[in-house]
Amino acid sequence: MKLIFEKSVPGRGMTLLPKCDVPEVKLPGELVRDAAPALPEISETDLSRHYTELCQHVHGVNCGFYPLGSCTMKYNPRIDEEMAALPGFTNIHPLAPAHTTTGCQEVLDTARAYLCEVTGMDGMTFQPAAGAHGEFTGVLLIKQYHDARDDKKRTKIIVPDSAHGTNPATAAMCGFEVVNIPSAPNGCVDLDALRAVLGEDTAGLMLTNPNTVGIFDENILEITRLVHEAGGLCYYDGANLNAVMGVVRPGDMGFDCIHMNLHKTFATPHGGGGPGAGAVGCKEFLKPYLPQSALMTGSDRLQVRSFAGNFLVVVKALTYIMTLGRQGIPEAAQNAVLNANYLMAKIKGTFTPAFDRICMHEFVLDLSEFKKETGVSALDVAKSLIDYGMHPPTMYFPLIVHEALMLEPTETESRETLDWAAEVFRKLYALGHTDPEFMHNAPHNAQIGRPDEVKAARHPILRWQKV
């Protein structure tokens, strides 16, 4: 595909603005830019076709099956988009007088009330723009709490070794030392390992439940009790909330604060990597530490970005929550779990589940035996799936399983799709034994063959330059 710059022809363009109807003002000479930026000059026809061509080389969840573990790629309803595009939301200035923005306040208040109920929390901010940003916000609550009590010795955050890479990175951004604890053989928290590291230097624990291998930790109440007993706080990484929303609440598990990914659990689109929204909820005693915009509120609280966050994303999530309601929220969770178990059962007998038991909304396949038998890796299987028009599962995560493929089908897939997916996995299992070479070279019918990532990293080309 040509780059848009390669389609640019000097003098082409669109007619978008009227002539200026007030006198021109000259920029002082020392401020004038040397040469105009070399942006594309292109007709509307070519512009439209350029992006149409690009979008034909993108696979979205609304295009096909997307069992990307830990990412909750569920269908993104169109009505949510329509509501977020209402001029009554898009044309509202964040600093407009409060009496002219009561609708926006109602959106935020309603979303806050419903999501607090779903999570068992008492307060919430929508300022964080993504899950990782929510983690940062949540761990800052823990930091402020200890600081306010002048409890300076609490310098450590405990993170299980099965955690998302963001957890340790977040703890480090908040100035905490990260203490990794090994998981028990079933992928859950090893209580003895936890007890061994808890102490008066414990600031808190970051945990996702169900965990990253798709298992609900049955010791959760004991885990949070132990952390509290040591004087630490418990942070819930809401990455896997889709398995349990409306069924069980993190607040009831003993967590003090939580982030949610509205773009996962509450069906707002990922947009190719954002914008998402990382709402952060907390118990009553942490509410004084929630972030606020200095300009909007005049407060001296901390803040993690400008204004009130990704408001239009909150509109989409609220529309989704109102659509599902009291019955639909748990129904979605239950069917996410049902679909995952159904798919795992259908695949079983070929690729091996890393944990052969009832899973939550996702499960992990362990391909290490398969690789020994055939030489075909998890990466080869993932790339082969592309030829079937299926987005590959999450690869090589969690780190505690070797040759891992992590599948999360979500509740919005039909039984036929799951049957078809299982069939594709079965075919690839057989193909690995008959023609491993073919799989090493997959994909064969994709937009491109396997890209040379080593070349890209050694000698980076990060922008187009005219030759």
Binding site: Y396, E453, V454, A457, R458
Partner: protein, 126 residues
């Protein structure tokens, strides 16, 4: 796998060649093979102190990053800037592509001879 006998090796897979009072440090053939294609190296600055057993930089492959552990305590006398532009030398010629030179040496990790190091690598692989 190549284990030149004129070098000494640390258990964290760095090699050392003494040149008078100055130690030349690189990574072993075994290390580069385990790392895969090296795409970038983070080097210390000349004049930085190194501590035996502590990281002095790291090497990046596409999907991993590994600390470079200093076999010696001392001061960085020289760094191999050529590696910043051509990190692939660490793969193609690990014993030619020295990384840093250390002077004012005060302490050392346990160092192995070529044959002991080869045995150590074989035990690591097993």
């Amino acid at each position: 796998m190549n284990y030149p006998t004129n070098l000494q090796y640390s258990k964290s897979h760095e090699w050392v060649m003494m040149d008078g009072d100055v130690a030349v440090v690189g990574i072993s053939d075994f290390a580069q093979d385990a790392l895969g294609d090296v795409v970038f190296i983070n080097l210390p600055e000349v004049g930085d102190d190194t501590t035996a057993g502590e990281p002095f930089g790291d090497v990046e492959s596409v999907k991993a990053v590994s600390d470079l552990i200093s076999p010696l305590s001392g001061t960085v006398r020289e760094i191999n800037e050529e590696l910043l532009d051509t990190p692939e030398l660490l793969n193609s010629n690990p014993y030619g592509a020295w990384i840093i030179k250390i002077e004012n040496i005060s302490d050392s990790e346990e160092m192995l001879s070529a044959s002991d190091y080869e045995a150590f690598c074989q035990s690591e692989e097993a």
